[in-house]
Subunit: 497 residues, 2 copies
């Protein structure tokens, strides 16, 4: 009896999946546990595992098996979807020559290390040479992948994070947004200016109490501490592996909301990972669909649910209790005003949900021009500042508040930014569908019962993994492919009603 090529491929990708999981834990450890002196050894461990994966992918037999399996595809639809994803992974892994991969790894690492000093020093010139070198290699990578994927160069870069996405998709969404968002923003700011400023709760907020409250909300959202952890790291993230999802935060005794909202955001990511189908755990189609869908899940929890009035009605007494105070600051309407403050400002990661898309649109325009060669690195700071002024009417005082603020480009990640706003749009669309499907939702949320939301997502998003495209999953779940209407409705209902 001979083994079907698809079955042999499943075994190869299962091996790759297990090795990627090992890397997932090692990466988490690096950010959360590893002592400072162990960095170079860890880099060696991780790169050795990457090399093994590279060898399995680039083995001639893997290519032969893929061709044979595609010539005689499995009858099962899930297996066919998995084969499709295997091919996609294979294209990404083999499109670029080993020399270029090595050069990219080195240039990314060099540039990122340099950026870590250049940002606080507000010294774009110190990093611009390394960024230029990195961009040159990224362009080569984009060209190679665009040929293998039959798409435009910039699309090939986006495809690494959001499979199958096209510039025309993004252009359509962003044009729609620019059609109404400036007007919405103007009205929100006017309205906000007419009201009283919210009262800021006074700390200190003890770390132990913050952690206990975060865990309480995580548990209520369905986070399983037998299959995950909450820890501390410099830059909060959701890591680990699907059966062992590990989120991190950073506590400040002066401000509990920043950490708490971060935890809720990462919990959204974590629930997605935790609910991926166990049976397909190590297979390509068993992974989360892409970064847009992933961001939709974090923003669904943080922005749609937890900054919503119903949630804050439920949460306000728990917050009061956790921090042992009782004042006007802790009324849910005050918290709502506080956590939904809108203000055009320079830093993306601190932006509210109304101004956030402008930050992304600016970066999308700039990175497309950089990859196309229409904008040079030396022109970047001026182009950034001009773009910011045009989009949000504010001009960064320096590059630290401008083009130096994000790690993405300096670590070689071009094509990632659009997924943030795609995620925000999808989150609004999904939350509207959940409301539609759950008439008693408002009552459930204010009672602290989030199962209508998490259950719906598990069924309609999480367990679908990568068995369909982002738009297919969204259309089946919400009735529409990704659009801007629900986001507009959401902003109008929350900020202008």
């Amino acid at each position: 009896m001979t083994t079907h090529p698809y079955t042999s491929l499943e075994n190869r990708f299962r091996r790759i999946g297990a090795l990627h999981e090992a890397q997932g834990i090692l990466h988490w450890d690096m950010a959360v546990m590893m002592p400072s002196g162990a960095a170079s050894g860890r880099a060696e461990q991780l790169s050795e595992i990457s090399l093994v994966v590279h060898e399995i992918m680039n083995d001639a037999e893997t290519a032969d098996l893929l061709a044979a399996a595609e010539a005689d595809p499995p009858t099962d639809a899930h297996e066919r979807a998995n084969l499709f994803e295997m091919r996609r992974k294979h294209v990404h892994a083999t499109a670029v020559e080993a020399d270029l991969v090595a050069a990219l790894t080195k240039a990314s690492s060099d540039c990122e290390m340099c950026w870590r000093d250049a940002r606080p020093a507000n010294d774009f010139a110190a990093v611009s040479g390394k960024l230029e070198n990195l961009l040159m290699l990224v362009r080569e990578q984009a060209t190679a992948k665009s040929e293998a994927l039959s798409c435009a160069s910039y699309e090939a870069l986006m495809d690494q994070y959001e499979p199958g996405i096209r510039e025309s998709d993004i252009d359509g969404l962003f044009d729609d947004l620019l059609g109404f968002l400036p007007g919405v923003l103007e009205k929100v700011l006017e309205r906000q200016a007419r009201g009283a400023a919210p009262v800021i709760p006074e700390g200190p907020f003890p770390v132990g109490a913050q952690r206990a409250l975060a865990e309480e909300f995580m548990k209520r959202l369905g986070f399983d501490f037998d299959r995950g952890r909450l820890d501390v790291s410099l830059h909060p993230f959701c890591g680990g592996v699907p059966g062992d999802v590990r989120i991190t935060t950073r506590y400040s005794e002066d401000d509990f909301a920043h950490s708490l909202m971060g935890v809720l955001h990462e919990t959204g990511h974590a629930l997605y990972e935790a609910n991926l189908p166990e049976k397909w755990r190590l297979q390509p189609a068993g992974q989360a669909r892409g970064m847009a869908m992933h961001e939709s899940q974090s923003l669904l929890i943080e922005m749609q649910l937890c900054r919503g009035s119903e949630f804050l009605e439920f949460a306000a007494p728990l917050m009061r209790e956790a921090f042992g105070v009782d004042a006007a600051a802790w009324r849910s309407d005050n918290l709502a005003a506080l956590y939904r403050r809108v203000k055009p400002d320079f830093i993306r990661v601190d932006a509210d949900e109304v101004t956030y898309p402008f930050h992304v649109i600016l970066r999308y325009r700039l990175e497309k021009a950089l990859v196309a060669g229409d904008l040079s690195i030396s022109e970047l700071p001026a182009a950034w500042n001009a773009g910011m002024e045009k989009l949000l009417g504010i001009r960064p005082p320096d590059d630290r508040h401008g083009c130096l603020q994000d790690i993405h480009w300096f670590s070689g990640s071009f094509g990632y930014f659009p997924t943030y706003t795609m995620g925000a749009l999808a989150a609004a669309q999904i939350f509207a569908a959940i409301r539609r499907d759950n008439p008693g939702l408002t009552g459930a949320i204010s009672q602290g019962d989030f199962s209508p939301i998490t259950g719906w997502c598990a069924e309609n998003i999480h367990t679908r993994a990568s068995f369909a495209s982002t738009d297919e999953i969204l259309a089946e779940a919400t009735g529409q492919p990704l659009g801007t209407a629900a986001f507009r409705d959401h902003l109008e209902a929350r900020y202008l009603a």
Copy 2:
């Protein structure tokens, strides 16, 4: 230009070394951080890495390279030693057929899981079938390895932990021990009975204070927290990797000494790993010499140094200060009497240094007979109890206090036990040599300056890694191969002077 076979081998073993390091961190995480539900996924990640190592080892080209390098060995003595260790690793990795390796892995895991319940339930019958099955496979493994190594079956098992060791070596050491140890024990017990019982310091001992004190001693011993960690786990161990050494302990508020002595013991292991030569980090000859030498380093710190009077003179005020009390219990002579209490008892891990060798000798005799087929599993409990009565004059009340107490056999580790006593003997011999080479040692220790000890070990033991045999390293460092004289002198000086 062609690459020398030795250079190609270095690259292969560097890869294996990096993969083993990745496993080291994943194992640490499993014991210290991993949530309970993630066990099966972790097993899959670890076994995938093992499979990759297995494939590199069993690749025909690895065997060809070894033969070619041995035919034209490198001129550098360190490289020749490394080649020798490569061959040893290769023999162990390839002597046993893949089917038997898989069967052993499964049988070990099954038997160990069963033992975890059988021990607290005091139910040897519940696990004896699985142990019998496992022993049968261990015998097959021993036969295969003994042919490849040209030694006896039991020696082939010991060789996994203590390379090159022979039964005649162990028999010689243990016969010597049995020549004086019963007499020493009798005299120690008589003398002890004549004195007053030590006063036991009263708790509770807050965990935070215990941890701070442990860290203080670790730092004074030279543990580098930029290249290592101290954490909590159920079973204390020293894990991680040489540039990132991670030790664990377990705190009880009722008894700080158990945790503290455990930390000091693991610190001894940690210093060995931390001082291995960085240049050879991922090569076979760059690893610690064997389990006897490793245990010598932990016992040197715990038993020779930290239970010694000079150390306790230095430590007693720090302990008093840490736990905020001031009483007769905290006098260094009382602590010395307390931490050196000798008592024949049933449990090896709780045994004092005088009775410990009897526990090891019993296990050595029994496991040799089991591997040879001279003793059956069904006869084991009775043989254990009879042996205990003969050696220490006490009879276990049940199997939980007898043959069920240790994990080793139930997890497939036969041939490990002798290294504990070899380590105790080596520790005494090394400490005597350090005293010989450092006339001012007593004063330094009571001042809290341990650098004469740690510096001596770094130079004479740690940085020697596996570039010579255990006996060669010991002979060069102390003037003698491993023997019992220094241990006898130590016991007489500490307990009978």
